[in-house]
Assembly symmetry: C2
Homo-oligomer: 187 residues x 2
């Protein structure tokens, strides 16, 4: 029972992250999520009594964990490998959704009033990814400040490129940016 | 009369760009724009008989022109100066809006179904900015492909950093990214 309950809730959170990554925060509601996830409205409210703000924050945390895990796995082999896994994840996300899906964290970041919990989760996500990459760069001898700055550039550029890819319906901006960033990480 | 009519419409388009840059595409409607711009609903529909898709496309074109003009002005003095003007514009946008405003083009790019006209306008905007910067780099002796790639990296990274700044409510990501990009443009 407990596992079922937890996995129902997880499925709803993943659905909310998908909605965010497709349409942004503006139109996301508990009602839309229930429809999107093909779940009863009552149970959706049951799992998220805090409504949309709670849902958005949970969705961002989910996206943070999923993306962080992919990045971390690559980083085990080095900074370039971390970038490659990160980029490969976005490539798959874009192609599998016919360029309909992007980044749920970005969706919250570009909204004026996402609510404190969702905004905090977005800041935490960007910071997690940047810190993971930065730590690996430091272990390769890059100075503390240079590592942090380069990691911020990598995350910002990939996030920006993913959005450009969605508009263009082409992987080109991501491929170009990934190649330039790989050059920077190597040097 | 004609000038009045044109300036009323222009004011509405600027208002739509502001709405997009704050809340994204999801919740933007002709009705919300009329409220936001303090304009009669009837005249708003009169100017935009195509409704939301027309409004969104016009707003993106407006943002493209405004941003392109700032970038071009800086680029007259060189690529680094172009980047500086571009970054300074975003710094002002973020600070003046207490981190509430971002990029209207980005707002359309991150939506799954922005409509063909708005998506085309977004692709055109990113391409305009990239082409302007790339042309100036080529005039400084950078090869065609390297100039195009570097210009794409610059636009993607600044756009990503602006979103990160909005989440953090701090200019830090933009400052870090701008400094790294300036180094790349110099070298």
């Amino acid at each position: 029972m407990r596992r079922d309950a937890s996995s129902s809730r997880d499925r709803l959170v993943a659905g909310a992250a998908d909605l965010l990554a497709r349409h942004g925060l503006g139109t996301m509601t508990v009602r839309e999520l229930a429809r999107h996830a093909n779940a009863p409205l009552g149970s959706t409210y049951h799992y998220f009594p805090g409504g949309k703000p709670e849902l958005a924050a949970e969705a961002v945390r989910w996206a943070d964990r999923e993306t962080g895990a992919v990045l971390r796995q690559g980083l085990g082999d080095g900074p370039v490998e971390g970038l490659r896994e990160f980029v490969q994840m976005w490539r798959r996300t874009l192609v599998d959704s016919d360029f309909g899906r992007g980044c749920a964290v970005m969706a919250v970041a570009v909204h004026e009033n996402p609510g404190d919990a969702a905004r905090d989760a977005a800041v935490f996500a960007f910071s997690n990814w940047t810190t993971e990459l930065s730590a690996v760069l430091r272990r390769r001898g890059v100075s503390h400040d240079a590592a942090a700055d380069l990691a911020t550039l990598v995350i910002a550029a990939v996030e920006g490129a993913v959005a450009m890819c969605r508009a263009e319906r082409s992987l080109q901006p991501l491929e170009v940016v990934a190649a330039r960033l790989e050059g920077l990480l190597r040097s």
